[in-house]
């Protein structure tokens, strides 16, 4: 496997959506390619940063309008 193939398969590798043979080939490449290892780790970190980021609080005006809408529009029974 070369760097191009590793890049192409990187997402599938991160998601565990890859057959065992291809996975092994990719890992063999990673052992000798610093470039692909760094990219892979940074892509993983990128996903983690977005995944772990706490959502910020709703702005007060947005929250007020949300509960006003719920108060005014929700039927008694779903």
């Amino acid at each position: 496997m070369n760097c191009e193939s590793v890049t192409r398969e990187m997402s599938n590798y991160i998601d565990g959506d890859m057959d065992a043979v291809l996975r092994l080939e990719l890992e063999v490449h990673l052992q000798c390619c610093r470039h692909c290892t760094v990219v892979l780790n940074q892509v993983k970190m990128t996903v983690e940063l977005f995944c772990d980021a706490e959502p910020v609080d709703l702005p007060n005006d947005v929250r007020s309008r949300l509960y006003e809408a719920l108060k005014n529009k929700l039927p008694a029974k779903p």
């Binding site: 959506d17 610093r34 990219v39 977005f50 980021a53 309008r65 949300l66 509960y67 108060k71």
Partner: protein
């Protein structure tokens, strides 16, 4: 652990006109079945707050305070989702409001075979995408190929990020960075990334919501991840990798 990043360890298949909302801002209607307060934090709930299933069951039976507790629990995440897809505050707010209203109206259709939150995300994503398509009908179509979508490129700008970028930036600064870089993504890439990596929908669910094939979802997710890495590289790099 729940992030897509850890799926490899688990060998999982995936990471895991004006609307009612706008109208309510302009002229609130008389409440036919109004809640007694606009602040759900003060509502007494008849069920344990920690148990989503009980809250959903109570809401299905017409317990509005139970539904309000669900709203309170997920309001920030749903607003983040609709903001991430639309990148427009007014549309995001409308989409969020309508998602909550529709989820209550259709609670009887919620079978309980997935988490309530996952079901809510599907509704909110559809509401947000509808507004995105409406606002920019001539600029793009989410289900059409994106220029460069299938290009094979090897990342070139490779520099060390150091041990942990999270330690170098405060929470609000990091939030600004992440918000800024995701804002620069094409909507077709951004939507797939948000649904897959932030909301942890499956590839199949994402394909269905966006209206593209499973291979297209995978392709866009890869491009989105690579583009975001490249953009974050400008903030996090510490030195050349040798």
């Amino acid at each position: 652990m729940h992030c897509a990043t850890f799926m490899s360890e688990q060998n999982g298949k995936g990471p895991a006109g004006r609307s009612a909302g706008a109208a309510s801002r302009l002229a609130p209607e008389s409440p036919p079945n109004a809640l007694t307060t606009t602040n759900p934090h003060q509502l007494p709930s008849t069920v344990a707050k920690e148990d989503e299933h009980l809250l959903v069951a109570a809401a299905k039976g017409g317990d509005l305070s139970a539904f309000n507790e669900l709203v309170r629990r997920y309001e920030r995440k749903i607003f983040r989702l609709t903001m991430n897809i639309t990148r427009n505050r007014e549309d995001a707010e409308d989409a969020m409001q309508d998602a909550f209203l529709k989820s209550y109206s259709h609670l009887k259709d919620f079978a309980g075979d997935s988490r309530f939150y996952t079901w809510l995300v599907r509704i909110a994503a559809n509401e947000a995408l509808m507004r995105l398509r409406k606002r920019r009908p001539n600029q793009f179509s989410l289900d059409e190929p994106i220029p460069g979508e299938n290009e094979e490129t090897i990342p070139q700008d490779i520099q060390d990020w150091g041990p942990s970028p999270e330690q170098r930036y405060g929470q609000s600064e990091m939030h600004e960075i992440l918000s800024g870089v995701i804002d620069e993504l094409e909507p077709g890439f951004r939507t797939v990334f948000v649904l897959r990596d932030v909301e942890e929908l499956s590839t199949e669910e994402t394909a269905k919501i966006v209206g593209i094939s499973v291979p297209a979802v995978k392709s866009r997710l890869l491009r989105a991840r690579l583009k975001l890495r490249e953009k974050l590289n400008h903030y996090f790099r510490q030195g050349e990798v040798h």
